[in-house]
Amino acid sequence: MRDELKPYFRENRLPHIWCPGCGHGIIMGALARAMAKMDIDKKNTAVISGIGCSSRATGYLDFDTLHTAHGRALAFATGYKMVKPESKVIVLTGDGDCTAIGGNHLIHVARRNIDLTTIVFNNNIYGMTGGQYSPLTPNGSKATTSPYGNLERNFDLVQLAKGAGATFIARSTVYHVNQLTDLIIKGINHKGFSLIEVVTQCPTNYGRKNKMGSPAQMMLWQKEHAVTKAQADKMTAEELKDKFIVGLLHQEEAPEYTEQYAKMVANLMGGDDK
C-alpha cells in the first residue's frame, strides 16, 4: 500500500474479508484516496455502516467507526450528526442494506437533507448471505431466491434519491475509479445529503450465477454499459435500455437540517449557544 494511504487504514486488519475480485476493495481504496487528496480532518470524521459485505469496510478504516445493525446506518448517523453537526459523517452501505431493509431511513434522511455522505456499494445482490436478489437486482437476473429470473422491477436509486429530496446525487462504477474518487470528494464537500451509487461487482454470488465471467470481465461490462448524461441525451430509449448514467447527476443547495436545528437552539437560548 502506498504510504499516503496508510493513515486512513487499519493496516493490521488487512487483508480484508472480501472475495478475490470483489469490487468493494476498489471503492474503499477510492474513498481513502479521496480522503488523502482532500486531507480530511480524521478526528472530525466518523464512518458508519450497516450490515453486509459493504458494511465491513468500517473495520478497515482508521477512523471513529460504527458498524451498526442491518439497514440502520443512516438512523444511527442521523442521531450522531444531530449531536455533532460540525463533524463529517460518511455512511457506507450496500444495495440491500440501503434500499430494502434501510429504505425508509434513506428516503427520510434525503428529505431532511442531513449532511451525510452515503456511498452505496451496489453489487446487485445480497453477497454476505450467499446471493439473494435485492431491490437493485435487475429484472430478469438470477439469484438464489430468483432461480428462474427476477420477476421484480429494480429501483433506479438515482431517481429514488431525487424523488426523496437528496441534494447531491452521483453514480459511478469501480471501473471508472478516477471519476469515483472525484465524486466522493465532491460528495463529502457538499453541504447536505449526498448519495453516491457505485456499481461494483460480486463475482462470487452475482457474476457466476448470471454468467458474467471474471471480475475483470464484469468491470468491462461496467465500462460498456455506463454512459454520461451528455451521451444519454443523444440516445434513443431503445439504445438506453440496458445502459446506466454515470457522473454527477444532481446537485442543489437547500437548508441542512442539523444546521437549522442548531440555529433554532441558538435563537431559543438567546444567541448563547452553550
Binding site: 481504496g29 484516496r33 471501473y175
Partner: protein, 63 residues
C-alpha cells in the same frame, strides 16, 4: 516500476486483464507479477483497480 505485494494479492486477475499493455501476469501460485516491464506505460490504473491495495506504480523510477 510496478511493485506487487505478494502477501496482499489475492490473484483475482483484474490488473492482468485490464492492463492496457498486458504488462502483468499471474505466476504459478496465482499471484500477479510484473511480467513485462518493457511494455508498461506507468498509467497507474492497476494500482487504482487493485481491490487489495497490493500494487504500487512508481512512475519516476527506471529499470
Amino acid at each position: 516500476m510496478v511493485i506487487i505485494d505478494q502477501k496482499l494479492c489475492k490473484g483475482c486477475g483484474i490488473c492482468v486483464s485490464l492492463c492496457p499493455k498486458q504488462a502483468l501476469a499471474l505466476n504459478e501460485v496465482n499471484k500477479s507479477y510484473y511480467a513485462h516491464p518493457d511494455v508498461c506505460i506507468h498509467c497507474g490504473m492497476c494500482e487504482l483497480w487493485c481491490p487489495d491495495y497490493a500494487i504500487i506504480v512508481e512512475r519516476e523510477s527506471k529499470e
